[in-house]
């Protein structure tokens, strides 16, 4: 049924042996972590706030609720103002209302 040489047989066998070993390691790993209860962890907000005075349009797009158009509007508005003195000035951009602004609070800074 299987026409292989002695060498080939030992080669396949050694692959199976090492495979079995690896599988049982992986299985053991899963079972051990299963014995731990579900653990609660602390999540820190890792994101550094984005500086709206220096950010490019692409960086601004990563903020929630800001797409390509709005990012462009913000940059145009910034050029008009020269600089944002405080984050509240962002409200002057058309399309950023109270709700959107609340969502951005903490994620943006003016660099001061």
């Amino acid at each position: 049924m299987l026409n292989i040489s002695r060498f080939e047989r030992y080669f396949i066998l050694s692959l199976i042996i090492s495979g079995t070993f690896l599988i049982s390691l992986s299985y053991r790993h899963k079972i051990i972590s299963a014995n731990n209860r579900i653990e609660a962890i602390e999540i820190k907000d890792e994101q550094a706030p984005i500086n709206i005075n220096t950010a490019t349009a692409e960086q601004l797009e990563y903020l929630p609720g800001i797409g390509p158009v709005l990012a462009n509007d913000i940059i145009l508005y910034r050029e008009k103002l020269r600089l944002f003195k405080g984050i509240k000035e962002l409200r002057g951009v058309k399309g950023i209302g109270d709700r959107k602004f609340e969502g951005l609070r903490g994620l943006i800074t003016t660099g001061d």
């Binding site: 049924m1 299987l2 026409n3 292989i4 002695r6 080939e8 047989r9 396949i12 066998l13 199976i16 042996i17 495979g19 079995t20 599988i23 049982s24 992986s26 299985y27 899963k30 079972i31 972590s33 299963a34 014995n35 731990n36 209860r37 579900i38 653990e39 609660a40 962890i41 602390e42 999540i43 907000d45 890792e46 994101q47 797009e61 990563y62 929630p64 609720g65 797409g67 390509p68 959107k100 969502g103 994620l107």
Partner: protein
């Protein structure tokens, strides 16, 4: 059978997985582990007494047992895995995780564009506490912008387990679609949850762009995957910007493996003409692409060895870009083995390379055995290998060489592929399509042309003046293909739904 060790091993490997699938839950990992060890020891001891045949039988048994072990392990998840954490009902939660793929699909969803990604969960916050968990899920984000592989983000959204039966909205002809009250119809014989779970996807998240905060980029990302995926995104955007919707969607289907935006009526035309396999990247596409590249390099007078190695590297890149679905991987593994054989000047047994491809895919994920694409792909190749020369042998050798090469051989291939896959297609899709034997004869050359023009467009489409010309050219070819599919699907007695 005797001189095809890899094919034999693959068959027994598959046998092991099927066996493990049938095994009752009382059979534990440890039982299989011990049986594997016993078989290995028996294989080692028998040749000492000079009984090689018995040793080989025990070797095959240890392969069966090993495959069963592999399947059992792939189906075991830690206690805090998302499949254990999530209950049947919807969960509204904050979710922390990392995007693990480029956009799998991108299409309008109730008037807004939504993209889906693979998302690896790290933790979820139910009410107060963050729970550490794990597992892959599919996330759908309502957004116009692109997220990238390796984006770690905080998501607020709803998470649920996939439906067992996917309900498809179906609008009948007399119904007014605008009322949003589409009638729902079950897809028969298809379990969506099982389909996703076989790809290790356990839940679906729905969310909007406003509810996402990106924490960092390239989080624990693999550089090779990062570059191939960003290349895929670039190609996708080039197609979206420069091609008309329908032909662009088709090009994305055949070159990137994403047919989500292809209109339903075109998909139905392909389905009814029995050429649905055109839309899913398969061995056919890989082979055609390899032929295109090898001939291109031949024209450029590049040395044969170098051109083969380049083709192999290109095909591997292509498999990654097409998100390594089983049928693509199968085709790429087989083509690479074939090309290596050519390089070494040795003839490769195709059954053997088919077996090698099966073993490679199933070791990566044993559950791919239950994937429709895997089954169709392997069955089609197997039946082509098995039937074609049987059909060709009664044909007299004195007929014109060109008639034989361009009419009889393609016909034989088409008939054998259809014979092999028809029962499975009948089972899964409840349709039988005799027209596909003839349709394929005309549609495959058209596919070849659209692959060639489409690839030229992808490579050179960014150029200022030539770009639109390439786009227009590929658009014309693709529309020709659409009309062929439309013609064959409208033929009487071409297809039957059961």
């Amino acid at each position: 059978m005797t001189k095809r060790p890899l094919a034999v091993i693959a068959v027994f490997f598959i046998l092991g997985i099927v066996l493990a699938w049938f095994l009752p839950e009382s059979v534990k990992f440890s039982h299989l582990f011990i049986s594997t060890l016993i078989f290995i020891t028996l294989t080692l001891t028998f040749p000492l007494k000079g009984r090689v045949k018995t040793a080989n039988i025990f070797l095959l048994l240890s392969i069966v047992s090993f495959a069963a072990l592999l399947y059992l392990n792939s189906n075991t998840y830690p206690n805090n895995h998302i499949s254990h954490v999530l209950k049947e009902e919807k969960l509204k939660a904050d979710i922390l995780g990392v995007i693990k793929s480029p956009a799998l699909s991108r299409k309008p969803y109730y008037g807004k564009v939504a993209s889906t990604y693979l998302f690896e969960i790290e933790a979820i916050k139910d009410r107060k506490d963050w729970l550490k968990t794990g597992g892959l899920v599919q996330i759908r984000i309502e957004t116009e912008k692109d997220y990238h592989y390796g984006d770690r983000m905080l998501v607020r959204g709803t998470m649920r387990r996939p439906q067992i039966r996917r309900l498809k909205p179906v609008a009948t002809e007399n119904e007014v679609v605008a009322t949003f009250r589409l009638r729902k119809k079950e897809t028969p014989g298809f379990n969506y949850r099982e389909y996703l779970e076989n790809q290790n996807i356990f839940a679906l998240i729905n969310t909007k762009e406003n509810n996402i905060t990106v924490l960092s980029h390239d989080y624990k990302s693999n550089p090779i995957l990062k570059y191939t995926y960003s290349l895929r995104e670039k190609l996708k955007n080039q197609i979206i910007q420069k091609m008309p919707l329908e032909s662009g969607a088709f090009l994305r289907a055949i070159l990137l493996g994403d047919r989500s935006e292809l209109p339903k009526d075109i998909q139905t035309a392909f389905k009814n003409s029995g050429t649905m396999h055109i839309l899913a990247i398969s061995g056919l596409h890989v082979a055609l692409i390899a032929v295109i590249i090898i001939n291109l390099l031949k024209v450029l007078r590049i040395k044969r060895e170098i051109s083969y190695i380049f083709t192999m590297l290109f095909l591997m890149l292509f498999a990654l870009i097409a998100l390594s679905s089983p049928s693509v991987v199968r085709a790429v593994v087989m083509s690479c083995i074939f090309l290596i054989g050519m390089l070494l000047g040795r003839k490769v047994d195709t059954y053997n390379s088919l077996g090698a491809a099966a073993i490679f895919i199933l070791i990566r994920n044993p559950k791919d055995l239950f994937n429709v694409g895997f089954q169709l792909s392997f069955l089609a190749v197997f039946s082509i290998l098995y039937f074609v020369h049987r059909f060709m042998s009664p044909i007299k050798s004195d007929i014109n060489f060109y008639v034989k090469k361009y009419i009889f051989v393609p016909l034989a291939v088409s008939i054998s592929a259809w014979l092999g896959t028809a029962p499975l297609i009948l089972y899964y899709f409840k349709i039988i399509t005799p027209v596909s034997i003839i349709a394929n004869l005309l549609i495959i050359p058209a596919l070849f042309a659209s692959l060639a023009t489409g690839m030229t467009f992808l490579l050179l489409g960014w150029m200022p003046f030539l770009g639109p010309i390439f786009a227009a050219l590929s658009n014309i070819v693709i529309h020709l293909l659409f009309s062929l599919a439309g013609f064959f699907s409208s033929l009487k007695f071409g297809h039957f739904y059961l």
